[in-house]
């Protein structure tokens, strides 16, 4: 409370107006629009939107749309594998970083770089590395007398190949969050553990892990929510192919909206996607007690 009751009453309201306008116009209104769109057949012709009521027909079509559910399944596989691997690698790297005296900043800088560049910009390199004929990986495979793979052009290996790139790209995110969490653990705890004769494994399980729980919860929650939004990496590497093997929710819905121009149907898919992400997020929050852990 500032100096006087009612201080700054006009200021605070005026200050909030731009935010409210933007939120209203760019998130609340479009979401209502999305809901309305999902209940009809929508098309935009000559700058005008045409909407015809269809009730729940779009949603009925969605349940029968095998492609969409393949995309959902692929997305779940992607989220879990990518996040799991990034967590393990990120945690290991973070632990190692706490062991060195100098150079932590340099490693952090380098590991950060992928996060700061457009995914499409690393797609060229990765596509070429995965190229069956003259790519880096197959050259190495041939040198080791192993049979060259078709990586991105083969349904079985395409999704893992995309996930590998994602892990390469996103590990720094977990790394940074977990490192920050580790650095928040007071050194005295480790010193008294040493005095008590605790070994490295005991230190990890009785000091590090429990105190790291809030950071772990936050890292997993944030990265998962983030991972559901995957689009750029898949678009850049395979755009969902071959077939449906790397199709994820966002690429599928994008195709329905922009390429097939089925705006009403796409809207119902998008609403379902929101519900899926919402349920997962709420589930996580309850599971990890994130709010309790952080207060």
């Amino acid at each position: 409370m500032s100096a006087a009751i009612g201080y700054g009453r006009r200021f605070k309201v005026v200050a909030i107006v731009p935010l409210v306008l933007i939120i209203g116009a760019l998130s609340i209104y479009p979401l209502i629009e999305l809901l309305v769109m999902s209940l009809g057949d929508v098309a935009v012709r000559f700058g005008e939107r045409q909407w015809a009521w269809r009730g729940l027909a779009n949603y009925q079509r969605m349940f029968a749309d095998a492609g969409y559910w393949v995309a959902v399944r692929n997305t779940l596989v992607y989220v879990i594998s990518s996040m799991g691997a990034e967590f393990v690698i990120g945690l290991s790297l973070a632990l190692l970083t706490t062991k060195i005296r100098r150079g932590a900043a340099v490693y952090r800088t380098i590991l950060l770089i992928p996060l700061l560049v457009p995914p499409i910009a690393v797609a060229t390199s990765w596509r070429l590395m995965y190229n069956p004929n003259f790519g880096l990986f197959n050259r190495v495979f041939r040198m080791l007398s192993m049979s060259p793979q078709y990586w991105l052009s083969q349904p079985e290996s395409a999704l893992p190949a995309v996930i590998a790139v994602s892990i390469w790209y996103w590990t720094a995110y977990s790394f940074i969050l977990l490192l920050a969490g580790l650095q928040n653990i007071p050194g005295e705890l480790y010193e008294s553990a040493d005095i008590d004769g605790a070994g490295a494994i005991q230190r990890f399980f009785y000091i590090t892990l429990p105190l790291l729980k809030p950071a772990i919860a936050v890292t997993i929650l944030f990265r998962s929510v983030n991972a559901f939004k995957v689009f750029d990496i898949v678009y850049a590497l395979t755009f969902g192919g071959p077939g449906l093997s790397t199709e994820v929710i966002n690429t599928y819905v994008y195709k329905v909206f922009i390429i097939h121009q089925r705006l009403g149907y796409g809207a119902s898919l998008a609403i379902t996607a929101i519900l899926i992400v919402g349920v997962v997020s709420i589930g996580y929050t309850k599971l990890f007690g994130v709010e309790r852990g952080l207060r």
């Binding site: 409370m1 500032s2 201080y7 200021f11 605070k12 200050a15 909030i16 731009p18 935010l19 933007i22 939120i23 760019l26 479009p30 629009e33 999305l34 769109m37 929508v42 700058g47 790297l93 190692l96 970083t97 062991k99 060195i100 490693y107 800088t109 950060l112 770089i113 700061l116 560049v117 457009p118 995914p119 499409i120 910009a121 690393v122 797609a123 060229t124 390199s125 990765w126 590395m129 004929n133 390469w168 940074i176 920050a180 936050v218 890292t219 929510v225 939004k229 689009f231 750029d232 819905v253 994008y254 909206f257 796409g266 809207a267 998008a270 996607a273 929101i274 992400v277 919402g278 952080l294």
Partner: protein, 296 residues
């Protein structure tokens, strides 16, 4: 505490070499090795991309490895008929505008929310909705944005991209500035009030200068997110009047062939802001990512 002559009895290497100091040295050396390995894994695709951008097509597809650098791909990017320069300008303009506006609006809103009294509904409502916006898959907004943009004639304009990017960046900016403002002592505003300053003056002349570090951190992150954004730009633009660089790079992938050289050259250019910011603003970025996460 060294133990000599006990190697043959099968003690562990570290116990044999002895002192805690040596163990720490080995631990550090091993850690460095792994970290260097990780760093190489991160850097190789970038170096490979750089090599591609400087090599003639025959080198790219050849068996062995050669380095015959040629600026041909880069010259092509900036030569006649190339739309890359226009896309580059769009990316810079849109990212800068979105960053400055998100900072202006976000900082002001965070100050108003954090330092003035509100009914609980308002704060929970606004902050809660910001979380929803952040969690929302962008695809949910692509449909309505596309429809509304086409209807209103804003489709394929830089203006619409700036608006969208402001929305995307506002949550993080507000979280960061909110945390920062709430950490400042009340005496600052009280001193201003005593001096007869209006709330606007207090905000502009005291709060903003003081919050420079937080502004820098959120600004850097907002810029990066705007620069690398792809889905919205792809969906809402179609010509070089508003198209951004990432979308342009994707355009090098044609149905039956990929123009690796020019694509790699454009990609290398797209990497530069991120590279520079990683080198010079690393602290800000890390602070931005961790605060954004922790404070929720």
């Amino acid at each position: 505490m060294t133990r000599t002559g006990t190697i043959a009895t099968g003690r562990t290497l570290t116990a044999t070499l002895g002192s805690a100091k040596n163990r720490r040295r080995i631990g550090a050396a091993a850690s460095h090795t792994v970290l260097i390995l990780a760093s190489l894994i991160i850097l190789i695709p970038f170096l490979y991309g750089l090599w591609i951008s400087l090599s003639p097509f025959t080198d790219i597809t050849a068996r062995g490895f050669q380095f015959n650098p040629t600026p041909a791909h880069y010259e092509g990017l900036f030569g006649r008929g190339s739309r890359i320069p226009a896309l580059l300008v769009n990316s810079i303009v849109v990212s800068l505008a979105a960053t400055l506006l998100s900072l202006a609006i976000g900082s002001l809103s965070a100050y108003a929310i954090g330092r003035f009294s509100w009914s609980r509904w308002v704060t929970v409502g606004i902050l809660g909705w910001l979380i929803v916006v952040q969690t929302l898959p962008a695809i949910a907004l692509v449909g309505p944005y596309y429809t509304l943009a086409r209807q209103s004639g804003l489709y394929d304009t830089r203006f619409v991209l700036v608006l969208v990017y402001i929305l995307i960046n506002l949550p993080l900016v507000i979280w960061m500035m909110l945390a920062y403002f709430q950490g400042l002592p009340r005496e600052l505003e009280e001193a201003g009030v005593i001096d007869g300053m209006t709330p606007w003056q207090i905000y502009l002349y005291i709060m903003v200068p003081l919050s420079a570090p937080a502004l820098a951190a959120s600004g850097v992150i907002a810029f990066i997110f705007s620069w690398k954004e792809f889905l919205m730009a792809l969906s809402l633009t179609s010509t070089p009047s508003a198209m951004t660089l990432p979308v342009g790079i994707a355009g090098f992938v044609q149905d039956y062939s990929i123009q690796y050289g020019p694509m790699a050259a454009a990609s290398t250019i797209a990497v530069i802001p991120g590279l520079l910011l990683a080198m010079f603003a690393q602290r800000h970025i890390v602070s931005g990512l961790t605060t954004g996460a922790m404070k929720q």
